[in-house]
């Protein structure tokens, strides 16, 4: 048994089953879709056990050199609280675990997002004002005016009329260019995925067919 060729065939047949959805929904698609969901969930669980719970929790609570580190019971209890959500009678306990997750996430997010996505961006926009060639000056002007007018568009506490309305309109225009660029990139991304899978089917799977036939079906 050639495991490599078998693996390629499993992958190719499952891929073709999924592509059959383009014609219409059918049992082959449904089979592959359900298998994908189940196997992905299984993968996640195993990796969480092998790469997180085993080394970062269990082996620390019960170290190789012996003993029992009681402090590691605390995250274990919180993790149990999270799982309590599936038992309706004690589902309320999951709020304790959620409180910890949300609190830590909010505390970290608040300072980090403000530093990286607000302060550094304002600073970057100011620094971008350069006195180079006429075209560079034009570009930096577009950048600064674009950021400011885009922000004005998002400022809803004042009615968009007069100067604010005009600036907000300019903001929408800049945003449209940005969204157009995003759309172009999105099309590219989706096609790249198709190209990648086509390369697999054409250059890895198809060449195995004559190979198998050449051997006379003995692979």
């Amino acid at each position: 048994m050639n495991w490599e060729i078998l693996g390629i065939w499993i992958g190719a047949l499952l891929s073709l089953s999924l592509y059959s959805f383009l014609y219409r929904d059918n049992p082959f698609y449904k089979f592959a879709e359900h298998l994908f969901v189940g196997m992905s969930a299984g993968y996640w669980v195993i990796y969480t056990i092998e790469n997180v719970l085993k080394p970062n929790w269990w082996q620390r609570m019960f170290p190789a050199e012996g003993g029992f580190q009681i402090v590691w019971v605390i995250p274990g209890i919180f993790a149990f609280f999270m799982l309590a959500r599936i038992v309706p009678k004690i589902a309320g306990l999951s709020r304790l675990a959620l409180g910890m997750i949300v609190g830590a996430g909010a505390g970290l997010g608040m300072v980090s997002v403000f530093q990286t996505n607000a302060l550094a961006q304002v600073e970057g926009s100011i620094i971008s004002i350069s006195a180079g060639s006429a075209f560079e000056m034009f570009s930096s002007l577009v950048l600064v005016v674009g950021v400011v007018s885009g922000l004005v568009y998002f400022f809803f506490s004042k009615e968009h009329t007069g100067i604010i309305g005009g600036t907000a309109n300019l903001g929408i225009t800049i945003l449209m260019v940005a969204f157009g660029a995003s759309f172009g990139y999105t099309i590219m991304a989706r096609l790249s995925l198709l190209i990648g899978q086509s390369q697999f089917l054409m250059f890895e799977w198809l060449p195995t067919i004559p190979r198998i036939l050449g051997i006379g079906g003995g692979a």
Binding site: I46, L83, S139, M188, L191
Partner: protein
């Protein structure tokens, strides 16, 4: 009490992270380090929660013979295949768990999302209309990027890639930066509301 204790935990966890940021010394370093390590373990439980929920949904489908219930055993068997091979052989490269991942999960995952190529093309054909000047601007920007990103753009006219680079680094950066700064303000406001217990919807209800 049902809501007070979770809110207190949220406040304490949030403040530890904030203080750890501004004062990366003891005692906040120790508190921060421990909270961050515990966070990883508690967050892992969410993955188990998802898997248990998935199994619950499919066993229920089989029991009540709901629509498409005949495919539910496929999901359960797929889940068990990965679970059993993972437990017995571990995640080492080349072992059965890794083999199943590389031969089945990888091609299925890649194919599932490559289907979007067809639908995005169909949607672009049907919905992408130059119905006013702003939509035309959006369309023009998309066309410049689509041509500038591929070699054929430079073959048509060697200035197209340059136009793409300018478009991405000036108007696109301006628009994205405005969105970024605006969203950052939203994150700060929401985080503050969560830490101080004003925003409670994540706890599911207000009782």
């Amino acid at each position: 009490m049902r809501i007070v204790i979770p809110l207190a935990i949220t406040f304490v966890a949030g403040m530890i992270m904030v203080l750890n940021f501004f004062v990366p010394h003891e005692p906040f370093k120790l508190l921060g380090d421990n909270l961050q390590e515990w966070y990883m373990i508690v967050a892992s439980a969410a993955i188990f929660l998802g898997a248990m929920n998935l199994l619950h949904v499919h066993f229920r489908k089989i029991r009540l013979k709901l629509k498409n219930w005949k495919y539910s055993p496929v999901t359960i068997i797929g889940f068990l295949m990965m679970l059993v091979t993972g437990i017995i052989y571990g995640v080492v490269e080349g072992m059965p768990f890794d083999y199943l991942f590389q031969s089945a999960v990888v091609p299925m995952g890649a194919t599932m999302f490559s289907l979007l190529a067809f639908f995005v093309a169909s949607a672009a054909f049907r919905a992408f209309r130059a119905s006013n000047w702003r939509a035309t601007l959006l369309l023009t920007s998309a066309f410049i990027v689509m041509l500038g990103q591929v070699p054929i753009g430079a073959m048509i006219w060697d200035k197209i890639p340059l136009a793409k680079v300018w478009l991405m680094s000036v108007p696109n950066t301006a628009g994205q930066r405005a969105v970024m700064i605006g969203a950052a303000m939203g994150v700060v406001a929401t985080s503050l509301r969560m830490i101080f217990g004003i925003e409670r919807s994540y706890l599911g209800g207000t009782d």
